[in-house]
Symmetry: C2
Subunit: 295 residues, 2 copies
Amino acid sequence: MQRAGPSSPSCSTSDCFPLRKTAECGSEHSVEPEKHEVRAAGAPTGLSRMWSVVSFYICYLLCLGLSLACVVCVCLWNSQWRGGFAWDGSALQFNWHPVLMVTGLIALYGNGAVLYRVPLTWGQNKLPWKLLHATVMLLALILSIVGLCAVFDFHNAKKISNLYSLHSWIGIAATALFAIQWVVGMAGFLLPCSPMSLRALLKPVHVWMGGSILWLSIAACISGINEKLFFVLPGSANQAYADLPPEAVFANVLGVLIVAFGLVVLKILSNREWQRPESRPEDLAYTPLLQEENE
Amino acid sequence: MQRAGPSSPSCSTSDCFPLRKTAECGSEHSVEPEKHEVRAAGAPTGLSRMWSVVSFYICYLLCLGLSLACVVCVCLWNSQWRGGFAWDGSALQFNWHPVLMVTGLIALYGNGAVLYRVPLTWGQNKLPWKLLHATVMLLALILSIVGLCAVFDFHNAKKISNLYSLHSWIGIAATALFAIQWVVGMAGFLLPCSPMSLRALLKPVHVWMGGSILWLSIAACISGINEKLFFVLPGSANQAYADLPPEAVFANVLGVLIVAFGLVVLKILSNREWQRPESRPEDLAYTPLLQEENE
């Protein structure tokens, strides 16, 4: 079923990205300040549209590449330098912690966050993409919780206190906020009983909290990698870390990759030209799953 | 001199915040999706406007209060538990480092970033506020550079290597990006020779980079506080930190306050209802200082 009408015209991907116009797409979101300013400055409209497509795909490829690089690097660091993996209360169990946190809270989370920005998802029914967004985020949340279990188990086996460092406070806050965000998002945007007015109020909070959780996770990862390197490369007056052996350089580069990934995700999320046009009332309202499937 | 006309109507603070309307303010920025959605949901317009004012001032007061709390806490931590301040190559010189970085890169920077969101600055000539924004940011940059000098001097005096930890890599990257951002911002938005088309292209990059620098600075602060506590509270197997003595709790709370401040600043920056209406061409164009002063 295709929806059309003055207030909600149908809007194919090719119409809407990046060629969408206010009147055509029926979305007040699509009045973009950047585009307006470029036009005001007399830049060729066709050229700026072409640049918008090219720059989106550059950013999206960077996003995918950097997230993959982060996961590969954190696995290599823990397998090559830290002895690999086990689930036996030893240091090898701890090694699951950085791998699962970086994979869940950073790589999967960031890719789940930018899902709606992919033009392929536009001009189509939103519900399947909502379900995919919720599923990717649930997988990210599960990996993060298992990552926390790994470090709690290791600490308990070694009689080390839990949750004393600032790294642990920020990390547990990020995961707890993520869990709340997922539950509230599920209840607010996917349950049929959730009213449209609630969705409209929730959405800006969901978007702001989504970006904030990513940055909290990045702060937790940076402090965690830093702390781990001081633990495992102590030497005399931290000389082993200060000498920057290959492991230190490799793990520092992992931290830089995580930050670069965060910057690219934030860039994608903040660019209004790349937002899915969706202020149509029926995008906020609930549509029964069966009806959506039949469209 | 008051500007008026169909394309650039004058727009007093009371008109524009939060009562500004697309047609009245002549700004395409002022088509706010959140507001649109709330209206679509049938919420009372007057009530949502009132809530917009109240919630802005709550956030702004929180922003001011949290930045003040961060500065007070970092000063207290270093004076009460770390022995105070000196500039003699000793550990007392190092103590300037966290104080100046938190004051410059976090408190001043965050407050400088939200300056344009204060309704008092709307409906007035933008140039004095641009100059204040640039001045606050320059002060923040100077404090950050002096903060870096403090730690480099201390390291050199104690024959400790510089720039080996991930904390130092992220911190130096944040300060370097901040310096580039300030110079490019000054050249792009304040110099008379900068063309309007360049300003239009620069602005979204300036806004995105501005938020990213704040989050990089927060990540650097969190990893720095965490690292410092492991250094000064080592004990056996980090037991002194794990026992959470008053200093550890106090410094951890400082980290939490810094994160809370970042969340509030990001909330203020991301809310489109609180943005200064400024897509009028003359807001992007250069106006000679003398002319601005005479308005």
